[in-house]
């Protein structure tokens, strides 16, 4: 395994609100090796988008980040805003946002906005060089040059999302975060864009984090899956292992609650109960109140993230027991 480009060490994020602290992310440790593609999957309230924004240091003022986020040897948590703007954001880490229509200024042309971003990071480029670069990134996401002259509202959802990916690739970053980047799109468009992402990863030699609530998306474009539930990392596993042999009860429930396209039609089972109140999270494992296998011990102590096989980590006290049974 190659060296980690990004390593999260005990990252916790809390929001200060009128009703106390919301513990959005708790004690997340994760290694992202160079060239890897990590899929961060979780339902609403799992803290996955909070984590993504934290990586770009874009969280609102009332958020507190503790722990370390080591990117290429440097801790992002301690960087100042001006340090981040010069040399980090977009040069080293870029992001493709959800809800793309509002993600660009509505009254400026797309080309103008992209060129502006490029000028800030590479002021030495001449006008023809900048135009060449814009043309290149558009070509790599299979968009025609006329998009540069268009305003955001003139583009379809799919084209706008491609433009956002082009914007992300503009400064050749080694690391790209996709935050629900295909969520609002139709089935066929979504699959096509995911295929582009796969191709671009090789072409640009990208390390990526793909965030989605949709296990189908995660299945399509990642090599490692990390499962978040209520701010806690529950399981990290290679993609094949995750889908064929998930270990955490939450992962299992997550996969089995999705209907299948083929095979035996069995009655689906949801997960009973609802998300814990994160202003007052339960002691111990946060999934315990909804877990079919939970014991009193689960409610008392947070189980550690244990490596059950190479590259496969699970946070569950029940694991050894069920492995014996299996």
């Amino acid at each position: 395994m190659s060296e980690s480009l990004l390593e999260l060490r005990n990252v916790s994020i809390r929001y200060r609100t009128g009703r106390g602290h919301v513990s959005a992310v708790e004690d997340v440790s994760l290694q992202v090796p160079t060239g890897a593609s990590i899929g961060l999957v979780g339902e609403s309230g799992s803290g996955k988008s909070t984590l993504a924004l934290a990586l770009m240091r874009l969280l609102p003022q009332n958020a507190e980040v503790t722990g370390e986020m080591i990117f290429a040897g440097e801790n992002l948590v301690t960087k100042t805003e001006s340090q981040l703007s010069k040399g980090w954001r977009w040069r080293k880490l870029a992001m493709v946002f959800q809800k793309s229509l509002a993600a660009m200024s509505p009254v400026h042309r797309i080309g103008q906005q992209m060129e502006d971003v490029l000028t800030i990071h590479e002021p030495h480029l001449t006008k023809p060089e900048r135009e060449q670069r814009l043309h290149d990134v558009l070509t790599s996401v299979r968009l025609p040059n006329r998009v540069l002259r268009a305003y955001p509202f003139e583009l379809s959802g799919g084209m706008m999302q491609r433009s956002m990916i082009a914007l992300g690739l503009l400064c050749n970053p080694p690391f790209l975060i996709f935050d629900e980047a295909t969520t609002a799109l139709d089935v066929i468009t979504q699959t096509q864009i995911l295929k582009e992402i796969e191709r671009l990863k090789a072409e640009y030699n990208l390390t990526t984090i793909v965030i989605s609530h949709d296990v189908g998306v995660i299945n399509a474009v990642t090599d490692t899956v990390a499962v978040l539930y209520a701010g806690q990392l529950m399981e990290v596993a290679p993609r094949e292992t995750f889908f064929s042999n998930p270990q955490h009860p939450y992962s299992q429930a997550l996969i089995s609650s999705v209907p299948r396209l083929r095979g035996e039609k069995t009655r689906l089972a949801g997960i009973p109960g609802s998300l814990p109140d994160l202003t007052n999270p339960p002691q111990g494992c946060r999934f315990a109140p909804r877990c079919p296998h939970a014991t009193e011990g689960c409610l008392a102590v947070t189980p550690p993230l244990v490596e059950v096989a190479p590259g496969h980590l699970v946070r569950c006290t029940d694991i050894p027991l069920r492995e014996v049974v299996a």
Binding site: E43, I188, V215, V258, R260, R262, K265, G270, S274, L275
Partner: protein, 330 residues
Amino acid sequence: MSEAPLIVADELQCLFTVRRGPVEFIRGKASRIHAVDTVSFTLERAEILALVGESGCGKSTVGRMLVKMEEPTAGALTFAGETVNALSGARLKEFRRRAQMIFQNPFEAFDPRLTIGTSLQQAMQIHNIGKDQHDRLQRIVTVMERSGLTPAEDFLSRYPHELSGGQSQRIATVRVMLLSPEFVVADEPVSMLDVSVRADILNQLLDLRDELDMGIVFITHDLAVARYIADRIAVMYLGMFVEVGPAEEILANPRHPYSQALLSNTLPAGDEDRITEPMPIGGEVPTPVDIQPGCRFANRCPFAFDRCFKETPILQAHGGKTEVACHLLG
């Protein structure tokens, strides 16, 4: 009465006129959006039909026409042997009780100012169901507990914003059940919910079908969900049915190129392999303004030939129970 199919849709059509300014008005030029263009099908009691398609294909408009939330521009709709196109007054109200709708957004299913109990009672009061308040509450509690919402009293005093999306959608379904409808249109009822609670809603609907012999039209963009819940599937593209047939038949062997594209581009959510490589399809679903004759999928279809651009294919069976609208099949 009981012989007649629950729903007969006969060449339903819904066109929207594009807003005109004074200039266009004077010129007498008006563009029309073909939201739904001649859709015909029947639905039996205790049958679930899934309408599948991408956004803008007109599947929601069909659903809304079926419960008279949208008036068809042309075509006839028959409900249990009775034409519903021109219903009004008391007859319309009775139709409203018998034909219900479940909506996509559970977070806005109830008036935010009213408690759940008030909203549920209001639904019954509209149709004078229940003798008095006590009786109505009794019924509400019974239906809720049967749906697994226990203890029911605990939910009745809450406000909508105090419920999770899953709870809210289940109670919205309960509200519909209180009227004992014979037919329900469910418009993407799980697409805004977390996967872990989707199964509950789907199972709730399946149970209701079994208990009450209810006919359901289930609208979804997700073929896997359609397969799970429906007996039959209708695939829609730009306001038309391109393929209609038994769910398993369509999933196993889609005949229309668009159905094939849709199925092959649906992401597998488990460790099963893809059925085929995703079929590459150019462009996106266009807005159906001022439609010309010919197959609507022709300009994106990899197999299109001359005839597809000139003649609109008709939905017909080509051996088997599935009907397909495609010139490739002869």
